[in-house]
C-alpha cells in the first residue's frame, strides 16, 4: 500500500466587515476556492481539485482555516488562493481575502512535515508571535496586563505540552 500524500494549507481569512465573520462556514469557502481554481487553471485545475481537496477546519471566531489538498496538485490550489475575493453566504456576496500562513513542505524537518499537527503547532507559535507584536501597541495598562497574561498562558501551555511529550518519549 502506498500512503496518500497530502498538503495542508493554513490560511487566514480577512473580512473587512467584522460582523460577517461569524457567518463563515466551510461549504461556501470550499466552493469559492474551487471557482477560483477553475477560473485560473481551467477544466484541468478544476478536475485536479475534485480529488482529495477539502476544507478541513474553519474557525469563524479567529478567521483561521485549514485546506487539505493532494501533494501533486497543491501548487494549483495555492496559486489560486489570492484570486478568492468574495464568498457567497446566504445569498449575499461577502468580500474577503485569504492569506496563506503556512504550507507543509516535504523534507522540511520538524517545521514542515505536511500534517495537521504541525499546522496546529505552527498556529500556536504564530499566535504567540502576534501577541508579542501587540504588546508595544497597547495604550492602557489594562490592555497591557491582559496581553501579558495571554502570552504567559500560551507559553506555559507550550512548555507543558513539551514536558508531556518528553514524558511520553
Amino acid at each position: 500500500m502506498v500512503r496518500v500524500k497530502s498538503r495542508y494549507l493554513l490560511c487566514e481569512i480577512n473580512i473587512s466587515v467584522p460582523s460577517n465573520r461569524l457567518l463563515l462556514e466551510d461549504r461556501p469557502i470550499f466552493s469559492a476556492v474551487k471557482d477560483a481554481v477553475a477560473s485560473m487553471h481551467g477544466d484541468y485545475g478544476a478536475a485536479q481539485c475534485s480529488i482529495g481537496f477539502s476544507v478541513k477546519y474553519v474557525n469563524a471566531l479567529t478567521g483561521i482555516m485549514l485546506i487539505r489538498c493532494p501533494k501533486s496538485s497543491y501548487r494549483l490550489i495555492w496559486s489560486a488562493l489570492p484570486f478568492v475575493t468574495s464568498v457567497e453566504l446566504k445569498g449575499r456576496k461577502i468580500p474577503l481575502f485569504l492569506n496563506c500562513l503556512h504550507v507543509g513542505v516535504a523534507g522540511g524537518g520538524e517545521l514542515h512535515s505536511g500534517t495537521i499537527r504541525t499546522c496546529q503547532k505552527f498556529l500556536v507559535r504564530y499566535n504567540t508571535q502576534q501577541l508579542h507584536r501587540m504588546l508595544p501597541q497597547c495604550k492602557t495598562t489594562d490592555e497591557k496586563t491582559h496581553v501579558r497574561r495571554a502570552i504567559l498562558r500560551s507559553s506555559t501551555k507550550m512548555l507543558k505540552g513539551k514536558e508531556h511529550k518528553d514524558e511520553s518519549d
Partner: protein, 122 residues
C-alpha cells in the same frame, strides 16, 4: 549480384541528420484546422483567438497567458505553423486536441508535424 545493381541505381539519400544536444527553447508545430463546413473562411487573428480560447477553457487564465506565436497561416488550406516555448508544448497540444467547436460548428485540429527546428516545419 542483382541486388548490388539496384543499390547503385538508387538516388543518394536526401535526409539530413540534425543533433540538438541541449533542450530547445522553442518547439514548432504544423497544424491544420478541419471544419464541418469546408467553405468557412478564417483570418489569422480568428485562428489564433480560437487556439487561445481552447487554452483558456482547459488551462484557465494561466494557460491563456502563455505566449505562443502564429508564424505562418494559409487561409485556403487553414494550415498554420505555431511556435511555442518547450514548457508549453504539452499544454498547447492537449488543448488543441480537446478543442471541438468554432462558432457553433464542429472542428478539429490535425497536428501534422512537431519539430524543434523551424526550417523543417516550414
Amino acid at each position: 549480384k542483382e541486388r548490388t545493381d539496384i543499390k547503385l541505381k538508387m538516388p543518394p539519400a536526401v535526409y539530413e541528420r540534425v543533433v540538438v544536444k541541449n533542450s530547445p527553447v522553442y518547439q514548432y508545430m504544423k497544424v491544420s484546422l478541419v471544419l464541418e463546413k469546408a467553405q468557412t473562411k478564417l483570418t489569422a487573428v480568428e485562428f489564433k483567438h480560437l487556439i487561445t480560447t481552447g487554452l483558456k477553457s482547459l488551462y484557465g487564465e494561466v494557460g491563456a497567458a502563455f505566449p505562443f506565436d502564429l508564424l505562418t497561416f494559409e487561409e485556403d488550406t487553414l494550415t498554420a505553423v505555431l511556435r511555442i516555448y518547450s514548457r508549453g508544448l504539452v499544454r498547447l497540444w492537449s488543448s488543441l486536441t480537446l478543442l471541438g467547436f468554432f462558432q457553433q460548428q464542429r472542428c478539429a485540429f490535425r497536428v501534422l508535424q512537431v519539430s524543434r527546428t523551424s526550417s523543417y516545419t516550414l
